[in-house]
Symmetry: C2
Subunit: 340 residues, 2 copies
Amino acid sequence: MYVRDLTEDDLLSVITPHLPHAEGVIVPSGDDCAVIPAPDGRYAVSTDMLVEGHHFRRDWSSGTDVGWRAAMQNLADAAAMGAMPRTVVVSMGLPGNLPVSWLEGFARGLAEACASTGCGVDGGDLVASETLTVSVTVMGDLERREPRLRSAARPGQALIHCGVLGRGCAGLKLLERGYTRETGVLPPTQTGLIDDFLRPKPPLAQALDACRENRIGAMMDVSDGLIRDARRMAKASNVWIDIRSSYLEQHVEVLIPVARRLGLSDPWEWAMKAVLTGGEDHGFLATLERPAERAWGPHTLALPEGFSRIGEVREAHAGGFITVDGRTVEYGGGWDHFQG
Amino acid sequence: MYVRDLTEDDLLSVITPHLPHAEGVIVPSGDDCAVIPAPDGRYAVSTDMLVEGHHFRRDWSSGTDVGWRAAMQNLADAAAMGAMPRTVVVSMGLPGNLPVSWLEGFARGLAEACASTGCGVDGGDLVASETLTVSVTVMGDLERREPRLRSAARPGQALIHCGVLGRGCAGLKLLERGYTRETGVLPPTQTGLIDDFLRPKPPLAQALDACRENRIGAMMDVSDGLIRDARRMAKASNVWIDIRSSYLEQHVEVLIPVARRLGLSDPWEWAMKAVLTGGEDHGFLATLERPAERAWGPHTLALPEGFSRIGEVREAHAGGFITVDGRTVEYGGGWDHFQG
C-alpha cells in the first residue's frame, strides 16, 4: 500500500496512534493549533529540514531510522540551549509511491526518540511532494535556567565535550563502500559506527545535567563537525579556542581499524580528520568555568558527568578563531549543504 | 545568480536583513535555538508545508507571493485559536537553480506578512532539495484568553464568518485559463481575485478582536473550503451545522461575472459551489453565543466587527454533520492533498 492510495485523514490515522503528547498539553493536536505549557514564561525553539538524497537515503535508512534522526537532531538543539525538549511538530512532503509502511516506521522512530526524553509530538502537516522531505520544529523548556549561548565562551575556561566524534563520518564511509548493519562482515564495533550514523544518540540527559550545575559558559550542538562548530563558538564569543589533539585520542583510536579496512594510506591521519571535521555526531561542545582559586591543574578540574576536556579558551585580540595544538587548522571547514 | 553559487551563510545573509524579530525576543536566531517570551505560561503552535507544483507555481507566484502566503496561512492558524502570532520559524528546501532574487523576494513577502501583525521570524534552516519546499511553524500568545476550539460549537449558537469565500478558487480558475494580474484584459475586480489567491489576506485583527469579546464559541480557519471545514467543526463539536445559502449571496454575486467570462453554463451554480467548497481563502468560521434573554431575532443579533451570519448550530443526535438550507450537501468535500 502506497501513500497515493490513501487520503490525508487515512495517513494521519496510520501515524497518530504512535505519537506521544507533550506532558501537560493544554490542547492536543487536531485543532488549528496545539497549546503547550511554558511554565517559566519562555520557550526555546529550533527547526531543521531533512531531504531524501541529501540527508538520508532510503536504501541505507529505514523509516524508523529517519524518524529517529529527524527527532534527535532537533532534540539536541534544544538540549544544547539548556532547554528540556517538550514538544515537536513535524511536516512531511510525501511522494505518492512511498510505502505506507515506511511512514508508519517513521512515526515509530520519531516517537521512540521523543519518548526517550519525555517529549511530545503535538502537530504536523502531511502534503504531497516529488521529494521525500521532513521538517521538524522543537520547542523546549528552560526550567528557569539561563539559556546556554554559543557567545558565552570566556578566556580561561576549559573546552569540554560530551558525546561521540567522527563516528557518524566513519559509519557513512562504511555505507558508501557497501557495508551495512546486516551483512555480517563487520565486527560489532564497526556496525556500531553505521548505527551511530543512521541513529545518532546525543547525550541529552548529560548535557542538561551539566546545565543544571551552573559552571557551563557556552554550549552548542556539534552537528557540522568539531572544527566548524568550534569556530562558530569562537567567532560568536570573540575568543581563541585551542583544541588539544591529544585529548581526542580516545575518539581517534576507535576509527583506525575502519581506516585500515577501507585501505586508506594514513589511518591515523584519516581518523583524526574524521574526529575534527566529521558531521552528524550531535555531541555537545561547551566551556567550563574554572574554580575561582588558582589551585587547579589539568587533572584536578572536576568535569560534569560524561564530558571530557578537549582544549582551552584563550584571549583573542582581533576576532574569534580556532587552532589545533596552537596551529592554524589545515583541514577544511566541515559540511556545507549547498557546496558540500 | 543562483542558489548553487552561494554557501548557506551567504544565503542567510541575503535573507536575514529583511526579517523582523519577535517583540521582546530573549535570544534571537543564530544560536542553537531562539528563546521567545510566553508571558501567560502557554503558547499555541501550528505548522504547514508548501511544495512547488502542489501549493504554488513559480510562473504564477513571485517569491514575494509565496513568502506572503506561507506566513499568512500559518498566522491564520494562530489567530483561529485566538492566539496573537508572535514568531515563526521557516525551513526551506532549495533547488540549486533557484535564482537568489527569488529567495530574497520570499524573505520580503514573509517579512511583510509577519510585520502586518507584529510577528517575528526567529529561526530557520536552508537545505538543498530537488523540490522547492517551504515549511513554516507559527507560535502564538493566547494573552490569557481561553483557546478557541473547533469542538466548542453548541446548539443554539449562530454560525458566523469573517473574510472572503470562493475568491481564491475563482482566482485560481482565472490563472488556469491563462489570465494574470498583469495582462490588462481583466477588470480590477477580477485581478483582485487572482491577487487574493496568490496573497490571501485573512482578517487576523478582526478574528482576534472577536475572541476578546468572549461571546465566541468555536472558531477555526477556513483553508480547505467552507463545507469541508464546517463539517470538521460539526464532527468535533457533535452538532448539526446548517449553512443558509441566502446568507452567502454577497460572496456569490462577485463571482458570477467570472463564471460568465469563463463561459460556464450555470454561472450561479458554479459561483455558489466556489463559495461553498473553494479552498485557500483563510477566513474565520466561528459560532456565537446568543444573549441569554430570548428577546432576539435574526436582525438583532449583534455580530463581532467584520463577521457575517451564515447559518445556525443545531442539535445532532448521532454524530456531527452539516447541511445547506437543511439539505444534505451534494457538493464534494473540498480539497485533499493526496487525492485532490
